[in-house]
């Protein structure tokens, strides 16, 4: 049973590229562009969430905080991804388990995913 990874990003190119990358590595990938669905997620939780910080209209850190506050979702490892290295701190403060700056080396991503799954 492949591990399921949920990718939340507002850029389809990123979703596509990371999706192909993770699928190539044998993960089951689901992509969403709308954060709203994350918060209403009741079941079928992924094994890991890759969460972009800047998503059109939504701050990924707020979403992260809420997910970590909900008992149903607070066990899901969250790796936050951002084009800015400088917000690593705030990402971790928001409850993210790890942080990755764009653009990243494929091995770095895989390493972090394996660490939590």
């Amino acid at each position: 049973m492949p591990k399921r990874i949920l990718i939340a990003d507002d850029d389809p190119g990123i979703l596509d590229a990371i999706g192909i990358m993770l699928e190539f590595e044998g993960y089951e990938v689901k992509c969403i562009t709308n954060c709203a669905s994350l918060l209403t997620m009741e079941s079928n939780f992924p094994d890991l969430l890759l969460l972009d910080i800047w998503m059109s209209g939504t701050d990924g850190r707020d979403v992260c905080k809420q997910l970590k506050q909900k008992t149903s979702t607070n066990k899901i490892p969250i790796v936050m991804i951002s084009a800015s290295k400088d917000i690593q701190c705030s990402a971790l403060q928001a409850g993210a388990d790890d942080f990755l700056a764009k653009p990243f080396e494929m091995d770095d991503l895989l390493e972090k995913i394996e660490k939590y799954i």
């Binding site: 850029d11 190119g13 990123i14 596509d16 590229a17 990371i18 192909i20 990358m21 190539f24 800047w54 084009a83 800015s84 290295k85 400088d86 690593q88 701190c89 764009k102 653009p103 990243f104 080396e105 494929m106």
Partner: protein, 888 residues
């Protein structure tokens, strides 16, 4: 009568005539010749003549006039007598008349006096036929009478003269007779001397009349002369006399001679007296004057000398010696040695000219043994001997050092006055100028000296000032001593009326305190007024400029308090000028920048730094504007700090543009990263897929593509970093790490990407630093990649680390193109790139070193470079080594 004597023959008469002892001459009546008809022997004998030279000749031809005797007029008298005889037909006689006789054989005449009778001889018609001239030589008789008369005359005249002499003699003479000394004779001078009249004296005992002289020894003196016959002579004998109503002491030179009778006996005393009181007093006065002048000479430092020009011997006073620095008089040669050599020529010249001029005068310096220099003035009068040869100089020497100094001072003052740019003049009390300096002449337009003294005050002043001058200025000066104020003057040549500032003072006589002159100092106010105008104009201009400037201008004092802001600043802030003063200006600063702006300014002011700060201000319209304030410390000419003069420029627009640029670059970089992230992901997946399929070559190409994507990522990162630096948003995550092992890792990684260059490690023990590891890594990477990039023709890079002064140092040395000296400072600037003809061959945005230097600075370190163009560069940085103590 002839008939009665006719019994005597003619010859008998002739004989009688011829021999008669009475000299006779018979002359014709043919006036004026008077021919001699006959002459008898007695006549011939008495006139030293002979018959042949006389008979038949005119009487005056025979007896010409004596040319030496013009006064007796004998010829005229003889003719007169002859004619009387002829005309009256009666005998005529002349007595004692002079008729000189020629001495035979000579041109000489013999003086003769005659008594002559001319007797007419009548013919039958009672007419004069001829006449008999019968001279009697009375020469001896005449002369004897003459002598007697003259003797008597002489005797009389002698007596007259003697008496007159006696009476008029300038000396007093008297004869005192007998033992009672009765005044028998006394002349007026002696009476005057005694203060008596002749009558008071004559016939009286002299000692009774001159009672004050009694008992003073005069009686004994005259007694002695009268009894012994030995004369007495005394000079300057004090004699008490009652004269002019008072008793006074007269000084007399007295001679007492014995008065002898014809038989030799002494019957009295002749007294001769001359009053020498004045002489004595004068002598006393002279002695006193000499004493006084000697004292005076001593007092005023006047030395005296007496120089014998013939022997060169010189007698000097003690004071003379003192002036020359001697204690006592010395020889002339010794004095001469004391003269300053510069004065010797003057002295020689003066001495040479002295005999011609009759006086000696020169000034020279003398040097005392202690090197004291004194000015002396030598004066003297030259005396001449009977042959007119100068033989003596008597004179004085005066120490005029003080005078010289005073004169120098005076000269300086005169020079000062002459060269003053202000008018300076001295007026007589009548208003005429007695002196005016050059500046004054020019100011007033005087052409000649005559004008100076002749032009009246009224001509020199503007007509409307005359009354003021008369009624106000002059009375004030005379009363209070001075007046000063503005006055309108008139130029004598151009008639231009011009303003001056005039200061008039009353000059008083230093002795009696009475006003003697007025002194005037006058300054032409035109240049000053022009300057004021010019200043006012330039001030106006400056005010206009500062008001119009689209820049806030300000000034502060030495304590950092604002003292000036311009109109622009007031307009911007809407706060009044007064409210800006001191610390009031802070009211206009935006709340969030107030503290910073205030602190920064006060700190700069305290440190006298160039002030520069950026802050936001609240405009009157409610908008917020960015300003950059700059200020330069001001110092006065003596170097005392005065405060600042500065400007505030509104940089809102630039700030906005900068912000927009930074925002754009930030957004653009961010946006660029998204596709780059996708590309990188695709690339990496693709590489793995190809590798998995065994397509090694394709996989390798894709790997290189990934490398290029990394480069692109790096460039985007740089741009982002710059925007962060500019907006102050560059963040650091400091932590501890081992410096050397980190450097080794980086070198290892970089060596992998560099095939040509060998990265040589030369690392000394360093230890742990506390810093942002990634940012420091970024710097080291930047330095090494630069080293590789700019040394295309070498193959070695040396990386060194060391510790010094509690700092860790890292240097990267290359052997590349190097950097010229003038560019060294610029390499750390934003967008700097290697310039010159090689520029285009080196890629890059020119941001790497700028970012590196900003990182190092913000981490508390330093970054620098040394380089020799063409030989290579060494880039270094240092960071504080906080954990050094623990490591050791």
């Amino acid at each position: 009568m002839l008939s009665q004597i006719s019994q005597i023959s003619l010859a008998g008469y002739q004989e009688i005539f011829k021999n008669s002892p009475v000299a006779m001459l018979i002359m014709d009546i043919n006036t004026p010749v008077f021919t001699i008809l006959d002459v008898n022997d007695a006549y011939l004998s008495s006139t030293n003549t002979n018959r042949q030279t006389l008979v038949g000749r005119g009487v005056f031809a025979a007896f010409p006039a004596n040319p030496t005797d013009e006064e007796s007029k004998n010829i005229e008298r003889a003719i007169f007598s002859f004619e009387q005889t002829i005309n009256t037909k009666k005998p005529h006689a002349m007595s004692n008349y002079r008729y000189d006789i020629p001495v035979r054989g000579t041109n000489e005449f013999e003086e003769r006096y005659w008594t002559t009778t001319n007797t007419p001889v009548l013919d039958e018609n009672e007419e004069v036929k001829y006449f008999i001239h019968s001279p009697l030589d009375v020469t001896e008789l005449y002369k004897a009478g003459e002598r007697e008369r003259k003797g008597a005359e002489a005797l009389y005249s002698q007596r007259q003269q003697l008496y007159s002499t006696f009476m008029q003699a300038p000396v007093g003479i008297a004869i005192f007779k007998g033992s009672e000394y009765i005044t028998e004779l006394i002349n007026p001078p002696l009476c005057e001397l005694y203060g008596k009249t002749v009558d008071e004296m004559l016939g009286k005992n002299v000692f009774e009349v001159l009672s004050y002289t009694k008992g003073l020894g005069f009686e004994e003196l005259v007694d002695n002369v009268r009894l012994t016959g030995i004369p007495f002579r005394g000079e300057g004998i004090a004699t008490p006399l009652f004269r002019n109503g008072k008793l006074e002491t007269a000084y007399l030179n007295i001679v007492y001679e014995p008065f002898r009778e014809n038989n030799g006996s002494i019957s009295g005393v002749i007294a001769v007296a001359i009053e020498v009181t004045e002489h004595v007093n004068a002598k006393k006065a002279i002695e006193e004057a000499e004493e006084r002048s000697r004292l005076a000479a001593d007092a005023i430092g006047l030395g005296t000398y007496d120089l014998n020009l013939l022997t060169g011997e010189m007698v000097t006073s003690k004071q003379f010696a003192c002036i020359f620095g001697f204690e006592d008089p010395v020889s002339r040669a010794e004095y001469v040695e004391r003269f300053h050599k510069d004065g010797l020529e003057t002295r020689a010249k003066a001495l040479e000219e002295a005999p011609k001029k009759g006086k000696l005068l020169y000034e020279a310096r003398v040097i005392w043994p202690d090197k004291t220099m004194r000015w002396t003035r030598i004066e003297g009068k030259v005396y001449y001997n009977t042959e007119g040869k100068a033989n003596r100089v008597i004179g004085t020497v005066l120490d005029i050092t003080e005078q010289k100094k005073a004169r120098e001072e005076q000269q300086k003052l005169i020079t000062l006055v002459s060269n003053s740019v202000d008018l300076m003049s001295v007026l007589n009390l009548d208003g005429s100028n007695s002196y005016i300096n050059e500046a004054g002449r020019n100011l007033m337009g005087y052409n000649t000296d005559e004008e100076v003294s002749a032009v009246p005050l009224t001509e020199l002043h503007a007509p409307e000032m005359i009354d003021f001058l008369r009624n106000e200025v002059i009375p004030t000066v005379m009363e209070k001593g001075n007046w000063s104020g503005k006055m309108m003057m008139r130029h004598l040549q151009t008639n231009e009326i011009f303003p001056v500032y005039k200061n008039t003072i009353r000059i008083d006589d230093p002795v009696n305190g009475k006003p003697i002159n007025l002194g005037v100092v006058m300054r032409d106010m035109r240049p000053e007024l022009d300057a004021k105008h010019a200043l006012a104009n330039s001030e106006e201009l400056l005010r206009n400029i500062t008001s119009a400037a689209p820049t806030g201008l300000w000034m502060s004092d030495e304590h950092g308090a604002i003292t000036y802001v311009n109109q622009s600043w007031i307009d911007w802030t809407g706060i009044s000028y007064e409210d800006h003063m001191g610390a009031g200006w802070l009211k206009s600063i935006a709340e969030e920048d107030k503290e910073m702006a205030s602190q920064k300014f006060l700190k700069d002011s305290t440190d006298r730094n160039l002030h520069e700060t950026e802050f936001r201000i609240n405009h009157a319209d409610g908008t917020i504007h960015w300003c950059i304030a700059t200020g330069k410390p001001q110092y006065c000419s003596t170097g005392v700090f005065l405060g600042y003069i500065g400007a505030c420029v509104d940089i809102t627009e630039q700030k906005n543009l900068q912000q927009q640029k930074d925002d754009f670059i930030g957004v653009a970089s961010h946006e660029l990263k998204t596709p780059v992230t996708s590309i990188k992901a695709y690339t990496q997946v693709l590489e793995r897929m190809l590798k998995k399929n065994g397509e090694t070559k394709e996989a390798e190409m894709i790997k290189r593509m990934d490398g290029q994507v990394n480069r692109l990522t790096s460039l985007i990162g740089d741009l982002l970093d710059v925007t962060k630096i500019n907006s102050g948003r560059l963040q650091f995550n400091d932590r501890e790490f081992d410096f050397n092992s980190f450097v080794r890792e980086l070198i290892e990684d970089l060596q992998r990407t560099s095939e040509k260059h060998r990265l040589v490690e030369n690392l000394a023990q360093t230890g742990v630093v506390f810093s942002d590891k990634e940012r420091i890594g970024q710097v080291i990477t930047n330095l090494i990649t630069n080293a590789v990039k700019y040394s295309p023709n070498s193959d070695k890079i040396i990386i060194r680390t060391s510790v010094k002064d509690n700092e860790v140092n890292l240097s990267v040395q290359d052997f590349g193109i190097g950097i010229s000296k003038d560019k060294l400072d610029k390499v750390f600037e934003q967008f700097y790139r290697v310039s010159g003809n090689m520029q285009h061959t080196f890629p890059g945005l020119g941001l790497g070193l700028y970012i590196s230097s900003e990182i190092i600075k913000r981490e508390g370190g330093r970054i620098w470079v040394t380089s020799i163009e063409g030989e290579g560069s060494t880039f270094c940085f240092s960071l504080p080594l906080k954990k050094l103590a623990e490591e050791l």
